[in-house]
Amino acid sequence: MTDTTQSALPQGISPAQFEAALGQLRALLGPENVLTSEEDLAPYTKVMMSDADEKHMPGAAVLATSVEQVQGVLKICNQFKTPVWPISTGRNFGYGSAAPGTRGQIVLDLKHMNKIIEVDPVLCTALLEPGVTYQQLWNYLKENDIPLWLSCPAPSAIAGPVGNTLDRGVGYTPYGEHFMMQCGMEVVLANGEVLRTGMGGVEKSNTWQAFKWGYGPYLDGIFTQSNYGVVTKLGIWLMPQPPAYKPFCIQYEDESDIDTIVEMLRPLKIANIVPNAAVIANVMWEAAAITPRSKYYDGTGSTPKDVLEEIKQKEGMGAWNVYAALYGTAEQVEVNWNIVKQAVEASGKGKLITEEEAGNREPFRYRAQLMKGDMTLQEFGLYRWRGGGGSMWFAPVSQAKGSETKAQMELAQEILNEYGLDYVAEFIVGMRDMHHIVDVLFDRSDPAETARAHACFAKLLSEFGKRGYAVYRVNTGFMEQTADLYGKVKRDVDQTLKRALDPNGIIAPGKSGIFV
């Protein structure tokens, strides 16, 4: 075992200072909970970004199991000015995974803080610790026969509600906007104080998970995608299991149909006829769930158009594939199904596919699972489309207008193709917005392709930026460039808050471009 602490020191920290901090952390947490060997740190260093591993090499990882230990860790960090990078379940693939934003930070791993503190089947809420995974919560609901559904992102089983919500991730059910369905938060501040948001500060309160805002400034948002505190508890709302569930797919032949699709869907979504975070997946995203690219094309560069046509024909896929679902009583579902059918017919395009027609076929099956919050990792098939472990999410926000989604599609395609990469994309449908999710996939074992992916990602950000578009979330290699897109005043305010709440800058320096 080699000790890597010498090679990954936080900026401005001497080896002696770092060793002293580690000594105190060992005394607080027990030596087995302070990881410094190369072997123990290896799993924290696996990233999918185009950035070099060295840039995100942790100085150590520490495991805390209680709020008091988190307080203790922050106290030591303040004393020695050693930064920590908190993670919950640490499955932030394509956004930096479990590795720290900058080299030498100590990963504060909260995976062992994994208590399901409360599930209230009457109010349909849960209060969770950071290490709880969706699978764990799903198992708990089944074992206790609680008829509530989860909403999870595609890495469902191994990811968790706290970490996902704190990066403002999304799912695919009617509760798919996770931060919107979050209620109540407990945060350890850099000075060691424990803040409970919303109704949580009221003595004997029982409405922490019932009413979001509390009184005075509403603070929960400033602890998401930020570095102002370490979240140790999070409340979420859960969806009651509906009596009837009807997932369906609508296939479209042409790339340019995205315009028609979005114009057709928006009114249904705003009127809540289609209540869930539906998706519009393109042919490569759709195909990746079931096959590697090499089955159809083993050349380098972008996948040629005629190959995409072949995939569409042979795999029975559209250029765009909409997945949505209806929820409610059988009567409600039938009424809304007729409205959906009429809307599709009126648009003059699109082939409806029901669950009965799709049977057990992928990718319909995994989509149907995700839209009811069931566990599946089928979508990790994206990572073997080209293979090699390279993946970065380029996720610009778009208006839910057909002309806008078409413009973004064309721009993304043009830039990706310029670098020999593929436009593997889906739109996640909000009421008025779209999360336009592009998986920038590349072979990370190939240095030349990795360099191209890096340049490509930077150009995607800048070219989209010039047209007034910006991403909702980004990997740790591009946080600065993304923060710049949101303007100087925003960055200054972020920094002012940082200086007030964490004057030593010990919590996750660099997260979302925020330094003390």
């Binding site: 924290y44 696996k46 990882a61 791993d109 191994i158 079931i290 990792l377 098939g381 073997r384």
Partner: protein, 80 residues
């Protein structure tokens, strides 16, 4: 499943390795040491798993379980 290793195997490993997302790992006499190395370091498209996610003792048993497994009657074709 009650057993922790069985649970990790079914709910984590098999979620990819029985669905065609990852290569087939059953019935291939894969050495336990190699399995553990892949889990801890990840490998290309496969993510790494920390000790906090799958503890050493459980991983030992999962690796042994996979190593000694027989090929199931039907399984997806290897894809990598």
């Amino acid at each position: 499943p009650e057993d922790k290793a069985e649970m990790v195997f079914q709910q984590t490993c098999m979620a990819c390795h029985s669905t065609g997302v990852g290569p087939v790992i059953l019935g291939r006499d894969l050495p336990p040491e190699a399995i553990k190395l892949f889990v801890r370091h990840g490998n290309r498209a496969m993510p790494a798993f920390t000790e906090a996610m799958i503890d050493d003792e459980t991983l030992d048993r999962v690796a042994e379980m996979v190593s000694k497994s027989k090929a199931p009657a039907t399984q997806s074709a290897p894809t990598q």
